[in-house]
């Protein structure tokens, strides 16, 4: 009997592997067609979004259906920072996080009065309200349907202080102290933030705070009767989660400086729920995996058309190709949602713990030499020895 549970990998080691895997994405995604900056940026940005969402959903079990509101606010704040202050991305990112945090504090304060489905509905209502306000009353701030864009006539106070005042041709681009934030530099900027976010999330999972949140998820009643005031803890988790979403939103604006209200729509909130569950809610790397998978599907699968398929199946006889291509065609191109939907169903039904649980099962299968044992029994035996 050992006193301490020995984790599979040391925490520092996990972060190093994670960082290496993220920074090396341009290399290992190349063979499967994922190596272009636009997609890599999306991987990193939605990874941050999902990791933040998982801090709320994975730890406390509170399912928010309104996280897109924070994503949207982060974007608007960032674009306004580009318009009014400077094209430097640091203030934009900071404003995105701060404003999303403020909105999360307000929405969280009101929504966390209820639990379960009522909490989900309240967050959904607030997010849809933000979305509709962005289209109507708040048009002066959001520029309505057109979306908030940069213009050559924007003041950019800080930039004009340090430059000679001459405006270059065309719109300025976002930068980090001179380095343009599009293409690969943009990806590496997002990737570094993603790694920092992953580290923070891991620290939260490993902290007393994280354990208390898990306690709230497991048995909120017991938590109260042990003397824990659950509300400030829940609100903190909600705000942290909202700030992650705000960061992701501001990064969307960093890599492509415009913000539209559709970013706040409920489908965007639903997407992050999907990512988290697909990868494995409550696990550290799961949300990142889910985000990567969905963005990969969205960008790669949707680009397959009949020509690509005909080429891929060209080794088959013509008559078979004529049959196979239309059938497979249903699942790719504009039909990629169908594939995603099926995949999601399969995972929820057979692997409720998401992709991470799948990997864990495979790992355990090989470690036990091909014999599968139910996990709980195995854990019990180990602990009883």
């Amino acid at each position: 009997m050992t006193n301490t549970k020995k984790p599979l990998l040391n925490d520092t080691f996990v972060v190093i592997i994670f960082a290496a895997a993220i920074l090396a994405m341009p290399i290992w995604l190349d063979p499967i067609g994922g190596n272009y900056p636009d997609l890599l940026q999306k991987f990193a940005i939605y990874g941050i979004f999902a990791i933040g969402f998982n801090i709320l959903f994975g730890l406390t079990g509170y399912l928010s259906f309104g996280h897109a509101a924070f994503l949207g606010v982060g974007s608007y704040a960032a674009v306004w920072s580009f318009k009014l202050l400077t094209m430097n991305v640091l203030p934009a990112v900071i404003f995105g996080v701060v404003f999303a945090g403020i909105l999360a504090a307000i929405i969280g304060f009101l929504s966390l009065r209820r639990t379960g489905i009522y909490f989900s509905i309240l967050t959904l209502a607030f997010a849809q309200m933000s979305y509709n306000l962005a289209y109507s009353v708040l048009t002066p701030i959001t520029n309505g349907e057109t979306g908030l864009q940069l213009a050559r006539s924007d003041p950019r106070i800080l930039d004009s202080l340090f430059s000679d005042g001459s405006v270059g041709a065309g719109l300025p681009s976002t930068d980090l102290f001179g380095e343009t934030m599009s293409g690969y530099p943009g990806f590496y900027f997002c990737a570094v933030l993603l790694i920092i976010c992953f580290y923070i999330s891991m620290r939260i999972f490993r902290s007393p705070f994280g354990l208390m949140l898990k306690g709230i998820k497991s048995n909120q009643n017991r938590m109260r009767y042990t003397g824990l005031n659950t509300r400030p803890y829940m609100l903190t988790a909600f705000i942290i989660s909202g700030m992650y979403a705000g960061l992701a939103g501001s990064l969307l604006a960093v890599t492509d400086p415009l913000a539209g209200a559709e970013r706040m729509q409920w489908t965007a909130s639903g997407e992050v729920v999907l990512m988290t569950i697909l990868g494995g809610a409550g696990t550290l790397v799961g949300p990142m995996l889910g985000a990567g998978l969905i963005k990969y599907f969205e960008n790669i699968f949707s680009s397959f058309d009949d020509n690509v398929l005909t080429q891929a199946f060209s080794f088959l006889p013509d008559s078979v190709v004529d049959f196979v291509v239309p059938v497979v065609g249903l699942f790719v191109g504009s039909g990629w949602h169908l594939t995603l939907g099926l995949l999601f169903m399969i995972i929820v039904i057979f692997l409720p713990g998401g992709l991470v649980e799948g990997f864990r099962r495979i790992f355990n299968y090989f470690r036990s030499g091909g014999k599968t044992k139910p996990q709980s029994v195995e854990a019990h035996n180990q602990a009883g020895e």
Binding site: M1, N3, I204, L211, S218, A383
Partner: protein, 252 residues
Amino acid sequence: MGDLVLHLDNINKSFGGLSALSDVNLHVEEGTTHAIIGPNGAGKSTLLNVCIGRLKPDTGKVTFAGEVLTGRQPHEIAQLGVARVFQTPEIFQEMTLIENVMIPALSHRDGAFRLNAAELLSRQGEVRDEAEHILEDVGLKDMMMVEAGSLSRGDKRRLELGMCLILRPRLLLLDEPTAGMARHDTNQTIELLKKIKSRGMTKVIIEHDMHVVFSLADKVSVLARGQIIAGGDPQSVREDPKVKEAYLGGAQ
């Protein structure tokens, strides 16, 4: 004997038209074990729920060590040193036993709110030692890495007792701590409760099993149809004709 520490004054509680507690007065001496017995539906659990703030009484108030408990939030009452073992164990099913006991220790420390997100759980040596110590007390130490949900019913109750003990409560409320246990487990639990008796904690215990009541209790109150019908030391209560009538339905 010690001073009176827990007071329940004129507690009334009804659900709809049904009166669960009517004009209950109960005073418990510090450091004693006070058993509440009574037939099913007598209002025993309702009485405990009123004490911990799960239910609000219609009239009357509960005072513990000079603090009025009535109207306070459950977590505030817990912070004042009142802990409760429930009839069906309220534990963290998916977590290991050591986590189950560490969580109450942490919420006892940081319950009012402290942002402890930057600390590492693996550095909480003190809390962990304390938790291991408590698990040893309740006889579950060799299972501390087991998931709580896989425990037997008796072990779950012992775990819950451990989760309450680590809060170092001044008042421990126990709702049928031995219900559904085999005789052997019951005796073990009695021994355990006797052991913690020496720590000077006040206990209110609801129990059906007279063997448990007479092994543990210093005072007994009998609750029937929402009213206290008898009270005193165990021996006199046992011989009270009113008690016999309440239990046997006046068959004599």
